[in-house]
């Protein structure tokens, strides 16, 4: 570590965009995984690459949603200060819902199995 002049400050927008996009991408993964499991037609539709089955479509689409959300939010908030407390809260809420939606006992309960 060496002594250096202070860094110029950066707005929190770009970081907030990345955090919220990660939450949105995770939620997309959870919803698609659940939908693919609950609706057989969707499961077949999501089978982009048959050897991996629906997992290939679920993850490909979730990544597309995540990157699109990141791009759009990143552009919008590039030079802005945003209310990051609420963004953190929303991101964690989405992450928790996503984790639940991928947990098989919870998936089954939602489907009434």
């Amino acid at each position: 570590m060496t002594e250096q002049p202070e860094l110029e400050s950066l707005p929190n927008g770009p970081g907030a965009a990345a955090i919220l996009a990660a939450g949105i991408g995770s939620l997309a993964l959870g919803i698609l995984a659940f939908a693919g499991d609950a609706v057989h037609f969707l499961g077949r539709l999501l089978s982009f690459w048959p050897p991996s089955g629906a997992l290939s479509g679920v993850t490909t689409l979730a990544i597309v949603v995540w990157l699109a959300a990141w791009y759009l939010l990143g552009r919008r908030w590039a030079a802005r200060e945003v209310a990051i407390g609420w963004i953190n809260l929303a991101s964690f809420a989405m992450l928790v819902v996503a984790l639940l939606l991928t947990f098989p006992p919870f998936m089954d309960r939602l489907q009434g199995k």
């Binding site: 570590m1 250096q4 990345a18 955090i19 990660a22 995770s26 979730a62 990051i84 953190n88 098989p104």
Partner: protein, 174 residues
């Protein structure tokens, strides 16, 4: 599995790097060399998480899901069917693999975000305490997802080893 193991080993380092950088703040900045090294570390973690999930989903998983030809009685080369063939082991697929195949994907999304925020803000994370909290929390969730995935993978491999497609012989006794 190798990528996953490396990734798990690197986790505690990542948490320490993020925390130490943020705590040091903007008054004591790391040297160029330190900054480059820390960035390389975070990028490597994100890359390892992608390699782990992609190889799992597109190399190992198809072997696991392989469908045996009609009339096959020896299911040892078809892990999914082997597990489902007995009520004593079907839970390993229905709970284990079905959870593992999805939960693992939270890790690369989280770690890519963490690497980006770390590189973008670096020591400035000390000025953005809530952002630092989010980064550390996502790192913790990624650790949890990787641990669940790795643990289930190890148990699955005990019950129904994935042997792979074409035969690969690393060593053969004379």
């Amino acid at each position: 599995m190798g990528f996953g193991a490396l990734f798990m080993l690197a986790f505690s380092g990542a948490i320490a790097v993020i925390y130490a950088t943020a705590v040091a703040g903007t008054e004591r900045l790391p040297s160029r060399w330190d900054t480059a090294l820390l960035r390389f570390y975070m990028i490597s973690m994100a890359a390892l998480s992608w390699l782990t999930t992609l190889s799992g989903a597109y190399v190992i998983y198809p072997w696991y899901r392989a469908v045996p030809p009609a009339g096959t009685t020896d299911l040892s080369g078809y892990p999914r069917r082997l597990l489902l063939s007995s009520p004593l082991t079907s839970g390993w697929h229905e709970l284990g693999m079905e959870w593992k195949e999805h939960i693992a994907w939270f890790t690369p999304i989280a770690m890519t975000m963490v690497a980006y925020v770390f590189i973008k803000y670096g020591p400035r994370l000390a000025l953005h305490r809530q952002m630092r909290a989010a980064v550390l929390a996502f790192t913790a969730v990624a650790f949890f997802a990787t641990a669940v995935s790795g643990l289930i993978g190890a148990f699955l491999n005990k019950n129904a080893p994935v042997r792979g497609g074409a035969e690969i012989i690393l060593y053969q006794a004379k």
